[in-house]
Every structure is written in structure tokens, then in C-alpha cells.
Amino acid sequence: MNLKEKIIENLLFCCALLTILTTIGIVGVLVVETFKFFIEVSIIEFFTSTQWTPLFAEKHFGILPLLAGTFLTTTIAILVAVPMGLCIAVYLSEYAHPKTRGIVKPILEILAAIPTVVYGYFALVFLTPALQNLIPGLAGFNALSPGIVMGIMILPLVSSLSEDALYAVPKPLREGAFALGSTRFQTAWKVVVPSAFSGIAVSVILAVSRAIGETMIVAIAAGQQPRFTLNPFVPIETATTYIVQVSQGDIPHDSLEYRTIFAVGITLFILTFILNNVSFWLKRRFHQAYH
């Protein structure tokens, strides 16, 4: 009887341990392949060259164009998602009737459930032609339209998490502000939002991390031309798109070209890892603030 209990406990422990093995696997795979990559390519070239042409006859391995593309689409997405998400969050938490909140929140959360390939379709087939009517110089593949669509995709992430943070601000703070004669608007923006700042920052950082790692929207609608540019109207390539592009081609395993995807992958991993950990750290501090 006791033995059986022990076996079950150990089995369950193994399940939990699998999550650690997954992390070790991810880091291990990325590090080993990247190490092999840097034996052949100088690390200085990787971080300073502004050309990324590993699949051409004349090879250059500078990741900056891919990072520029990622930065561009992420920035556009954040510019769409954060102001809108914050406004919605303040409205839902400070203004709206509980019933309104009960309707609006789930509708917005549907946006988060839609598969990203659908967003990619929408960016390419609907939004880009629509924007081309407004902006004559806009290319068929560009950073603007996937950026906007990505912004809408992460909108519920920002609005839900920020709303939770605003909602957690203690009531006496609001009452104090009202007692001093503040209007609802002043209370919301000058008292509640600053009090919930770290919670809002968590949502923004998570949104940035999500946008950096997003793949299908940019793979479909942003193009596959690594360019060191901040012009949102021309085709670009993001880090994630490059990985998709290479795994679609028939590049032999164990070649230098094949290893590039792991070098790009580890860059992506490190970026999002740092952002996620900053957000955990902030979250922990912010939870302590009110307890």
C-alpha cells in the first residue's frame, strides 16, 4: 500500500519534472547549434553587419535587418494596442456598469482566440488593399498592415491585464480623490492609473514579448526581404519569418544555412526570456504593494 503511494507520487513528480526537461531541451538545442554556427561565422559580424543573405551566393550574416523588421512590426503593434487597450481598461474598470463589462470583456477576448494564420490572411487580403487606397506608396508586403493587425490581436491581452491591475487598486484611494473634489476622469488618470502602473507595465511588457514572437501574421503579410530599415511601407523580414522561410526550403541539415535558424532562434529566445522575467519581477513587486 505504502509502496503504491510512493510510486504514484514519483510518477507525478516525473510529470512535473518534464517541464524542466523541456526548458533544458530548448536551451540545449539552441545553444549547441548556435555554438556550431559561431565556429564558422564571426560573432561580431552577426551583431554588426547590416546585411542578412545566408541563402545567397555571397553570404552575409548580420542579424540587424531581421531585428529591425521585428522591431518595426512590434512597435506598430504596441502603438495600436497600448493606447487603445489602456483606454478600454480604464473605461471598463472606472466607468462601465458591471453588466457592460460582462459583455465587452468576453467579446474582446474572442480576438485572442482567433488563430494567427487567420489574422495573417486578413492583413494580406483585406487590410493591405484597404490601406493601399489611403497610402499610395504602400507595397503589397509591408510592416504596417501586419503591425496593425498584430496590435488588434494583442489588444485583449493589454486591456484584460491592465483592467485587472486597475481593479486591484484599493477603493479608499478613489474615495480620497473624490473627496478632494476630483472628477471621475481626474481620479482615473491621476490616481488609479499611476497606482496600478506596475500592473499596466506588466501587461505592456507581455504584449511586447508576444509581438516579438508572433510568426504567422508577419510570415504571411510582411514579406521575406531582410532590410535594415525603419520604413513601414516596404517589404521587410522578421526573425520569426526567417525561421519559417528556411524550414520551408530544402536546405540540407547540418549545413551552415540550417544553423542560422538556431542562431536567430536563440536571439528571439533571449529577447522574450528577458522581457518575461522583467514582467514576473514587476508582478511580484506589485502584488506585495497592496498586501
Binding site: 473605461y91 466607468y95 480576438l111 488563430p115 494564420v117 483585406f126 508572433e214 510568426t215 504571411i220
Partner: protein, 318 residues
């Protein structure tokens, strides 16, 4: 709703102490402010702006659905479901893609469900507070934030190459199972956490062992919460495209898979394939396949929401 034009709005101008010079000016301003127009305006302006923002999100959703349905609904007939992909758009269907999706879905669930629930039980019921448990918690939170395409790289190296499973259904399911594991673990823990301590104590008092208590009391009580989490996780896995592309799921699969070692395609990849073609007819095919994909996603999410609602109603223990 909002107490618009409430009394506190008109206080500010009066608190400014007037001197003789600007008294006239102030009187004029006061007149303007009578009924607290400025602050009321600020309030109403923001409120409408926020409603507009929410509407943009809803409108976007509506436009997306409208565009997809108006483009794709004409292609949805029996042939579309029963035809394999073809180079001719009007003959092409999603037969192999949806068979592949069903395979991937079932296998992913079969792998991720026991492991995820097991890990959740361990962390909630057996785990002692020590450094290892802290590491496990932080690690699971971190795994949830890793971009899905990175899981594709893991699957490619470990399952496809090291274990030599290639671009098979098994590789895809193992990769997606690891991807959704954190979601299942977190929701299992939430569900188990909400089971009251008294239920466990009652079971122990009757002489049950720890595992008997978990198996006969805690798990049945939290099962619908766990199932909700699993359904949400699976519906996430159905929409995943990037990791499957990386591990080598094929864009063109003419024959439906029959075993776990067969090569495969899934609906999102079939959609990606059709979007990438320049011809208008393929865009219509993509829209039709998107309708099917969205239908599955919405049905699963709706089911999860319903189950959660029922569970919350039932689990008011006191």
C-alpha cells in the same frame, strides 16, 4: 452609468482666489463653467473615446468575419470537405487537412492531458515549499511565455532528428503537447486549489490514503475545471501553425494519413499554403477553410466557457 455633471465637477474654478483684475475674466469663465461644462466634457469625451476603442476591436472582429464568410461561403460544399488538395483551385478540398487536424488534436490531447494533470496534481498536492518547487513554478511561467516557433525548433532537433521521427504526426503531436503543457498545468492547479480542505479532511478521517483522497474526492470535484483548461489548450493547439511548419509538416499532402508515423498537413497549414498563391480562387479556398477553422475554434471556446460557468455554479461549496 456615469454620474455626469456631478457636483464635484464645478468646484475647481471657485477655489481659485480672484483678484480685482481678473475678476471680470473669471466671471466670464465661471459662466462658461456653469453646469461644469469643461469637466463634464472631459469626462464624456474620454468615455466616448474609450467606447470607440472597444468598438474598433469589435468592428475589426466583425469585418474579419464578414470578409471571410462573404469570400468563402460559396466554396463550402461537400466536395470541399471530401476532396484532397489539388493544383486546380476549384477541385481542391481540405480532406487531408482536416483528417490531419483530427489526428494531431487527438494525439496531442492524449499526450498532454495525463502529463499536464499529473504535474498539476503534484505541484498542488504533494509539493513542499522548497527551492525545487520554486524552480518548477518559475520554469512553468517561463515556458508559457516562449514563442511557439521556438518549440518548433525543439521538436525539429529532438523529435524529428534525434528520435528520427521525421515530419510525422507523432512529432507534431509531441511538439504541440509540450507547447500546451503549461496551460493545462496552470488550469489544473487552479481547479484543484478551489476544492475545499474540508473535503480532503473528511476523506482522511474515513481512513483514506493521500492518493485515494485525490483520486476519489479531489479529482472528481475539480474535473470540469480541468476539462475546461484542457479544451482551451487544445483549441489553442489547433490554431498553431508556426511550430508545425518548422518541424516539417508538408504544405501539399495528397493522401490522408493513416498512422502516427505518416506525414501530414493541418488546416492552418493548408490555409497558409492557399494564401501564398497569387490566384484569386485560392484566396477563396483559404477563406472557406478559415470558416471551418474558426467554427472549430469558436465551438471549443464556447464549450469551455459553458463548462466553466456550470462548474463555477456547482462549486459553491459552502
Amino acid at each position: 452609468m456615469l454620474v455626469s455633471g456631478s457636483k464635484e465637477d464645478s468646484i475647481k474654478p471657485i477655489t481659485n482666489r480672484p483678484n480685482k483684475r481678473n475678476r471680470k475674466k473669471l466671471k466670464k469663465r465661471l459662466k462658461q463653467f456653469k453646469g461644469s461644462h469643461y469637466f463634464e466634457f472631459q469626462n464624456i469625451f474620454f468615455k466616448n473615446l474609450a467606447i470607440l476603442c472597444a468598438l474598433v476591436g469589435v468592428l475589426f472582429l466583425g469585418l474579419l468575419l464578414y470578409d471571410v464568410i462573404s469570400r468563402g461561403i460559396g466554396r463550402l460544399d461537400w466536395d470541399f470537405f471530401s476532396n484532397p488538395p489539388s493544383r486546380k483551385a476549384e477541385r481542391a478540398g481540405i480532406y487531408t487537412a482536416w483528417i490531419g487536424t483530427v489526428w494531431i488534436m487527438l494525439l496531442t490531447a492524449a499526450i498532454a492531458f495525463p502529463i499536464g494533470v499529473g504535474a498539476g496534481i503534484y505541484l498542488e498536492e504533494y509539493n513542499k515549499k522548497n527551492r525545487l518547487s520554486n524552480l518548477l513554478e518559475v520554469n512553468i511561467a517561463n515556458l508559457a511565455g516562449i514563442p511557439s516557433i521556438i518549440y518548433g525548433l525543439l521538436g525539429l532537433e529532438i523529435f524529428a532528428r534525434t528520435f528520427m521521427l521525421g515530419g510525422s504526426i507523432l512529432t507534431g503531436a509531441l511538439t504541440l503537447a509540450l507547447l500546451i503543457l503549461p496551460i493545462i498545468i496552470v488550469s489544473t492547479r487552479e481547479a484543484i486549489k478551489s476544492v475545499p480542505q474540508s473535503l480532503r479532511e473528511g476523506s482522511y478521517a474515513l481512513g483514506a490514503s493521500k492518493w485515494q483522497t485525490i483520486w476519489h474526492q479531489v479529482l472528481p470535484a475539480s474535473m470540469s475545471g480541468i476539462i475546461t483548461g484542457v479544451i482551451l489548450a487544445i483549441s489553442r493547439a489547433i490554431g498553431e501553425t508556426a511550430p508545425l511548419l518548422v518541424i516539417g509538416a508538408l504544405l501539399y499532402v495528397p493522401i490522408a494519413p493513416e498512422g502516427v508515423m505518416d506525414s501530414f498537413t493541418v488546416l492552418p497549414i493548408q490555409i497558409y499554403n492557399w494564401i501564398n498563391r497569387p490566384q484569386q480562387e485560392f484566396t477563396e479556398n483559404a477563406a472557406a477553410a478559415i470558416i471551418v477553422l474558426l467554427f472549430i475554434t469558436f465551438v471549443m471556446n464556447g464549450l469551455a466557457v459553458y463548462l466553466r460557468y456550470r462548474w463555477q455554479k456547482k462549486s459553491k461549496w459552502q
